[in-house]
């Protein structure tokens, strides 16, 4: 793969910010791992070898009868009876954590929540579910949600800001007033009202938050565009006969993007926090979903079980820190004035 010299330079600058680079690497590893959550924390084995046949319970559901059991329903591999049946004629390969985020551990030594032990490395929550499993799934949904929200709202926000700043005049005036009024609406109450009208799921929440989050970047991009559209190089492009659309995309946008990119990690962190907050007050993802906010709520409700609060707090703190550090490195990478120490 060959990169253009500009991008090589950007990669170099990104790596030069050691703290940000390693944050990005760690974040990428955590994110990749969480994408394979089903293979790390699940109440089903990866592979079951039974009677010389390979079964993949993660992908297909098998009835208990397939393993010599009695019920037509899907096999519960954690049931000692089923495990025994399978062990008779083959073997199973389990993930690291033998619990799904929904799995309720019935065999706890004391009433839930229980503290960390060899079975549950981060303990269990007040519904006897494994905290480590919930953390992995909750991390995944928070990051995915954050990413999607950031991407969609930035695209809308940047386009709106660009058009406003570039064309100016009545269009700009009208949209600015609209955004001011829109921004004056009490977001949280509207979200709560809407969330009580519809049954919130991932996409509903995304749409609802998007209603308000897109305005965040408009001001920045608009200001940068207003400044850029009268710069000499934009006038030079006009003199060359370049069309408005191309001027916007090629000359104005890249100059507005630095400010945008500087804001992105904060917006991403903000999106994660918003979802966490909604989950925390119980207007977020449907009950039972794993999420960082729900974990914090558990921590708050069970102060006698500090492992819940600590896990929730530390995971959110670490996630946000990594994102902000990585964002700083991205910003450096896009700054043409930044010189790389030792590689001028």
């Amino acid at each position: 793969m060959s990169l253009s010299p500009i991008n090589q330079r950007r990669v170099q600058q990104f790596k030069a910010n050691k703290r940000g680079y390693w944050s990005a690497v760690i974040f990428a590893i955590l994110f990749m791992l969480s994408m394979f959550a089903e293979f790390i924390a699940n109440d089903k084995p990866f592979v079951v070898m039974y009677n010389g046949e390979i079964h993949l319970p993660v992908f297909n559901g098998y009835p208990e009868t397939a393993f010599g059991g009695e019920f037509q329903t899907e096999a519960d591999y954690r049931d000692p009876f089923v495990a025994e049946k399978i062990a008779e004629k083959g073997w199973m390969l389990w993930p690291l954590i033998r619990y799904h985020h929904r799995t309720v551990a019935w065999d706890l030594p004391s009433p839930a929540p229980t503290g960390p032990d060899s079975q549950h490395i981060l303990g269990t929550d007040d519904q006897a579910r494994d905290v480590a499993a919930r953390l992995i799934y909750g991390f995944r949904i928070s990051v995915l949600f954050g990413f999607t929200l950031v991407v969609v709202s930035s695209v809308i926000g940047v386009l709106a800001g660009l058009v406003q700043g570039f064309y100016g005049g009545w269009l700009d005036l009208t949209m600015q007033r609209f955004i001011e009024i829109w921004g004056g609406l009490p977001q949280l109450y509207i979200l709560i009202i809407l969330a009580s009208v519809v049954e919130p799921n991932f996409w509903w929440l995304l749409g609802l938050l998007l209603l308000f989050s897109w305005t965040g970047l408009v001001g920045v991009v608009r200001a940068e565009t207003l400044r850029a559209r009268n710069l000499d190089f934009v006038r030079a492009a006009r003199a060359l006969g370049v069309s408005n659309r191309k001027i916007m995309v090629r000359h104005v946008l890249p100059n507005a993007m630095v400010a945008t990119i500087t804001f992105l990690p904060f917006i991403l962190a903000g999106s994660v926090t918003t979802l966490t907050a909604l989950d925390f007050i119980g207007f977020g993802l449907p009950p039972g979903s794993a999420s960082l906010g729900e974990m914090l709520q558990q921590g708050k409700n069970n102060l006698q079980a500090p492992w819940l609060g600590f896990t929730g707090f530390l995971s959110i703190a670490i996630l946000l820190t990594l994102l902000v550090f990585a964002g700083e490195a991205v910003r450096d990478a896009f700054d043409p004035r930044k010189t790389i120490p030792g590689a001028a």
Binding site: P5, L231, A236, A239, L240, R250, P336, R337
Partner: protein, 545 residues
């Protein structure tokens, strides 16, 4: 103290930016030694980045300490050491015994305070004058700097004053406490030539009246010749030559001084054929901006930025457009390129393009190009040189990779740059190189008509001369028609075949450049030429600040 004794003595001064063990630390000033006696004017000359302003700022210890430090040297002002002096000592010297004038009159006055308040401020601080006494003194000072209607001006805000008036206010502020030393950092660079001449004359008068020492920092050798007693030439943080003005100018010993003196734009335009093809012509061109007032936004009048200009450009020839700021020079250039809406016929190649739409204009854009004044603003900082130059090619349908690369390379070679530079970003280049890049962007399309909007005025003197040579050379090679817009008559003289003198949007004088330079007919043109070539302020109604 008798006149002639060194009153300011700088010995072996060094200025360093960055910490002691910072590998990127920069030695801005190295081993500078200067003396200045009372009643004397010393000019500190050098190009941008030579350390002349930093030297001046260190006299008053105004550098951003502790980022800046003085590894060596001492600065003695009237027998008192300034480096490491206490805050109290410095406060007593700043504004009271040493006054300072800055380059930019637009930003060095506080826009929120009236003139009287700004002048009075240092009087109240240093002399403990009462408000009314300070006001009386401010009025006296405004009279001293020969500001018109001083009584009314006392209550003006900076935005109500012109550039020249603001600079007079700045000087009044600097003189408020009758300083012994006046530091003038490029006091006239941002001003029009006629105003520049007036301000320099004022400084000379004041120096004689008040007997102060003046440290004049400038890049303009013409000013030095006219105003200074002694000159110190700085380059790269060090003084390379120092001595009486006459001696240094007549018999420069250091190669850099010789280069600087030789660098003034010289030469004459290439002789041109007067019967050459007409490329572009405009008749009675007008650009009027409506002034709208009231609830219904009725047009109550017009700002006549360009008012009835008739111009004809022929292949291989240059029309110089001169005038002071606000005279409509740039607007005229933009209107001819149809980048600014206007009234009046514009013919390109005999076709009337006055009402051509943006789309109709597009194919013509490759024939007419523009080079802007500010080489730092005219190149997109986020595109490589190659991308910048290739943009016009892409726009006009030349997209095939090898051909684009080849044409970009040859355009770079034509302006005297290496083709390999096309992969680098604008910030890696100096001002002169950037201006070459901007020219390459314009000529890569092989245009026939170029508007050059003050292409040299943001550049150092020696670089200006190179750019002028380059432009002349390109014109000769490609038979280009130029419209050369400038306030710098020396540069125009070196390039223009025909000349238009603009004032307030109207043509004052128009005709063959040579004839006008030799025998200007109009009073305004005469004043302009006297100011530009002899630094002489002409008392006439045609010129006012």
């Amino acid at each position: 103290m008798a006149t002639g004794d060194p009153f300011l003595r700088i010995d072996d001064l060094g200025v360093r930016f960055g910490g002691a063990d910072d590998p990127h630390a920069k030695e801005a000033v190295k081993g500078v030694s200067l003396t200045l006696a009372k009643g004397e004017t010393l000019a500190l000359v050098g190009e941008s980045g030579s350390g002349k302003s930093v030297t001046a700022l260190s006299i008053l210890q105004l550098l951003p300490y502790p980022l800046a430090s003085h590894p060596t040297g001492s600065i003695q002002f009237d027998g008192e050491e300034m480096i490491g002096a206490s805050k109290q000592t410095l406060m007593k010297v700043r504004g009271a015994r040493v006054g300072m004038i800055f380059q930019e009159p637009m930003t060095s006055l506080n826009p929120l305070h009236t003139v009287a308040k700004q002048i009075g401020e240092s009087l109240v601080v240093h002399r403990g004058l009462s408000k009314s006494a300070a006001r009386a003194r401010a009025l006296e000072l405004l009279k001293l700097v020969a500001l018109k209607d001083p009584e009314q001006r006392l209550d003006s805000y900076p935005h109500q004053l012109s550039g020249g008036q603001r600079q007079r206010v700045m000087i009044a502020m600097a003189l408020a406490n009758e300083p012994d030393l006046l530091i003038a950092d490029e006091p006239t660079t941002a001003l029009d030539v006629t105003i520049q001449a007036q301000i320099l004359e004022l400084l000379r008068d004041l120096q004689q009246k008040l007997g102060m020492a003046v440290l004049l920092i400038t890049h303009d050798l013409g000013i030095v010749r006219k105003t200074a007693d002694r000159v110190a030439v700085m380059t790269d943080g060090a003084i390379v030559e120092q001595g009486p003005v006459a001696q240094v100018f007549d018999d420069p010993t250091h190669a850099y001084t010789q280069m600087l003196l030789a660098a003034e734009p010289k030469g004459d335009p290439v002789a041109a054929d007067t019967s050459a093809d007409e490329i572009l012509a405009a008749d009675d061109l007008k650009v009027w901006f409506p002034i709208k007032r009231g609830l219904l936004k009725r047009t109550i009048g017009h700002v006549k930025a360009v008012d009835g200009v008739t111009v004809k450009l022929r292949a291989g020839q240059t029309v110089g457009v001169v005038g002071e700021s606000g005279s409509g020079k740039t607007t005229l250039g933009l209107a001819l390129l149809r980048l600014q809406s206007s009234e009046g016929a514009i013919r390109f190649d005999g076709k009337d393009i006055r009402s051509a739409s943006w789309a109709d204009m597009r194919p013509l854009r490759r024939e007419m190009q523009i080079v802007f004044q500010d080489p730092y603003g005219s190149l997109s900082p986020r595109m490589t040189i190659g991308e910048i130059i290739a943009e016009g090619l892409n726009t006009h349908g030349i997209r095939e990779g090898a051909e684009v690369d080849q044409r970009v390379a040859s355009a770079l070679e034509e302006v005297g740059l290496e083709p390999i530079m096309s992969r680098r970003y604008p910030h890696e280049f100096s001002g002169g190189q950037r201006q070459r890049i901007a020219i390459a962007r314009a000529i890569v399309l092989e245009p026939r008509f170029l508007v050059l909007d003050e292409p040299t005025s943001a550049l150092d003197m020696s670089v200006q001369a190179q750019i002028v040579d380059l432009l002349r050379d390109l014109q000769h090679r490609h038979n280009l028609a130029y419209m050369f817009i400038s306030h710098d008559l020396k540069v125009v003289k070196a390039l223009a075949h025909d000349l238009i003198v603009l004032k307030d949007g109207k043509v004052v004088e128009q005709g063959p450049a040579k004839a006008i330079f030799e025998a200007p007919q109009e009073e305004y043109t005469q004043a302009l030429l006297a100011a530009a070539f002899d630094m002489k302020a002409v008392e006439t109604d045609a010129v006012s600040d």
